[in-house]
Symmetry: C2
């Protein structure tokens, strides 16, 4: 497995692979790999025969008050895991390479980035769509994979790729959960044992919502209220949002008539967790 | 010469040409071709062996009060001229193809798009960088050519292509002028004979500025004042801006120490004309 840090070298390498007829798959990550990331690699393997994993903690998707500098990093461990999983090349640039002095250009998706996670993280998705555009231009992949864990991100990236005519197939892989059903996240290590226990309410309340909808409840406000009550029982939980939306325009649903995405963000102490479920009608 | 209107078909055609080893050149235009556009084709011919010309009047770079609907169009004439000049394919999509319902994504270059033409046309460059990003993703060119006539546009596009890591070489071709030195523009046909005569002051005052700098005048304010006085002698001229800037960050120069771009925009009646000169020190 190669490790490349230069953009020019990366473009040259990938051009050669492309001309040699390889089908290139991109797995963008911010490193500190867990089972969730590795499941993305296994997923994309079905769709390509040359796998690029990018490992880069992208500063432009963090606001100044967020956890950019505290975001967990362990590059050597990541390299071993990526190699074991069968990646062909790791792209690991430094920030002067990605955002040189005098950098000025951003890619922005309107409307669907202003709500949910975008409401409390106003520049977040602009940073995400900018770095993904750059990675698409650097790796020129045929296919790229993103996790359903970041449901809004996956929808925003699909919109961006379609709008800007990127010739890249976007795959969304299912959420990977711990045995007790907490959604895997690099940020989970910052939970205290007690917060870790409390955080189980997220997946539990989403599952309860799914059961209630299956049992016939179609009023979104009732479902949201039920989730809210369950979460508020937990001492350290501070709800950012709970939304029931459609899966394309992210418009709030009042009556649950078609498949919906139920998504939430909740803080436990300083750790902000997200989780979601797609409920099929 | 092929004419293609579908984005998918265009991507397929260009992928085939690329895999066959062709070096692809893109000439983005809004049609109503004149010698200026044809000089772009001649220029790019030196750098590639397969030429794509796009002909598309891009609505997102016009404000509601601007001349989008009045912008001159003559597709049949354009096709003949492009074919004579040796283009291999014309890309001529309609607006539902380029900006479908629910379109949300824009590419924006900060700072250098807020001054000069960007000050009086606030959404203009966002529209330009968005459509150029889309054309780059549709045509996947090795090289693209833009005219020095739109000096700020060329600088903004070079910044955007570098920032977003587009693997596209950007060429800027010199201004083509009428015999009496008026810079060629599709909008010139809207000048009355009298305005057409008055408009010669633009190139004349830029040339006079160049002579004055060569003769030793290094104070930018003095040069700007001289240009302003000359233009204001013309009855119908309404100055939008006259700026002396560097060629990368577009920062206003007070003392002319290095090569500078002198750029101006002036309205004659309803017709807004731009012109510029690079003065070498």
């Amino acid at each position: 497995m190669k490790i490349i840090t230069s953009i020019k070298e990366m473009q040259k390498e990938l051009d050669q692979q492309r001309m040699a007829g390889k089908r290139i798959g991109l797995v963008p990550t911010m490193g500190f790999l867990h089972e969730g990331h590795l499941s993305l690699v296994r997923e994309i393997k079905k769709h390509c025969n040359y796998i690029v994993m990018s490992i880069y903690v992208n500063p432009t998707q963090f606001s100044p008050n967020e956890d950019f500098s505290d975001y967990p990093r362990d590059f050597d461990r990541d390299v071993n895991l990526a190699e074991q999983e069968g990646c062909d090349v790791i792209f690991n640039p430094d920030s002067e390479e990605v955002y040189p002095k005098n950098y000025l250009t951003y890619v922005e998706v309107e409307n669907i980035t202003k709500i949910m996670c975008g409401a409390s993280r106003p520049i977040h998705f602009r940073g995400v769509t900018t770095i993904v555009t750059k990675l698409f231009n650097i790796a020129k992949p045929h296919v790229a994979v993103f996790g359903q864990k970041d449901a809004q991100q996956a929808i925003v990236i699909k919109r961006m790729a379609a709008d800007l005519n990127f010739d890249v197939e976007i795959i969304v892989a299912p959420i990977v959960r711990e045995q007790d059903s907490l959604a895997m996240s690099s940020r989970n290590i910052y939970l205290t044992p007690n917060q870790r226990e409390q955080a189980l309410v997220l997946s539990q309340s989403l599952k309860a919502a799914e059961r209630k909808i299956s049992a016939g409840e179609k009023n979104a406000a009732v479902i949201i209220k039920m989730i809210k009550n369950k979460i508020e029982e937990k001492h350290d939980a501070k709800i950012d949002y709970i939304e029931i939306v459609d899966q394309e325009k992210l418009e709030c649903q009042t009556e649950i008539k078609n498949n919906v995405l139920i998504a939430l963000a909740v803080k436990f102490g300083k750790v902000r967790l997200i989780d979601n479920i797609i409920v099929k009608i």
